[in-house]
Symmetry: C2
Subunit: 114 residues, 2 copies
C-alpha cells in the first residue's frame, strides 16, 4: 500500500473543559514548542514542514503531540499533509489572558532586559 494511503492514527484533541494549566505550562516551557506557538500566532494554519525550527522530524512530531495533547494546537490531516493551527480561542475561553501573558513575557525576555 502506498505510504499516502496508509491509515494514520486519529489525532486526539482535548475539549477546552479538559485543559489543564499545568500541561499548558509544561507544553510552553520548551524553546522549540514556544517557536511553534509564536509562528502560529502569525499565521492561521501551517503545514508541518514549514515551521522555522531546526529539529529532526521525529522530535518535531513529539513537540506537536505535547502541544496538541495540552490543547495548545489543533492538527488535521489533508491527504498527505498535516496542518497545524493554534487553538487561540479555545485557550482564551478557558484561561483568559494566559497565552498572551506567557508569549509577551517570552518575547520580552528575548530582548535585552532593562
Amino acid at each position: 500500500m502506498p505510504r499516502s494511503q496508509r491509515r494514520r492514527p486519529t489525532l486526539i484533541h482535548p475539549e477546552p473543559n479538559e485543559f489543564d494549566v499545568l500541561d499548558i505550562l509544561h507544553a510552553l516551557s520548551d524553546p522549540t514548542r514556544m517557536t511553534i506557538v509564536q509562528t502560529l500566532r502569525a499565521a492561521p494554519e501551517r503545514a508541518c514542514g514549514t515551521f522555522p525550527v531546526d529539529v529532526a522530524p521525529s522530535t518535531l512530531t513529539h513537540h506537536f503531540r505535547v502541544l496538541r495533547e495540552a490543547g495548545v494546537i489543533r492538527q488535521r490531516e489533508d491527504g498527505n499533509r498535516r496542518w497545524t493551527a493554534l487553538r487561540g480561542e479555545d485557550l482564551e475561553t478557558r484561561f483568559p489572558h494566559l497565552l498572551d501573558a506567557i508569549v509577551t513575557a517570552y518575547e520580552s525576555g528575548l530582548a535585552p532586559p532593562r
Copy 2:
C-alpha cells in the same frame, strides 16, 4: 560537629535580568510547586516544614531548588531553619502580569469549568 553547625552550601539566586521565562514555566508546571507558590502568595515568608504538601523532604528540597533557580522564590538560612519567600516583585518587574495570569488560570482550573 553538630549538624546545626555544619556549613550548608550557599543558596544561589538568579538576578531578575537572568530570569528565563521557560524556566519559570517549567517551575510552575508541577502541582506541588504550584501549591508552594499559592501558599507563599498568602504569607510573606514561611519556614520550610510548614507547606501544605504531602511529599518526602528530599522531594520538597528538589521542588524548592527548581523554584529558586528559576527565580520564583528566595530562600535564606536562619540558624537551623530555612525560610522561603516568593520573589513577587522581582517577577513582576521582569515579566509584568505573568505570575498573576498563571496563578489565576490555575485557580480557575481547580473550580469546575464553565
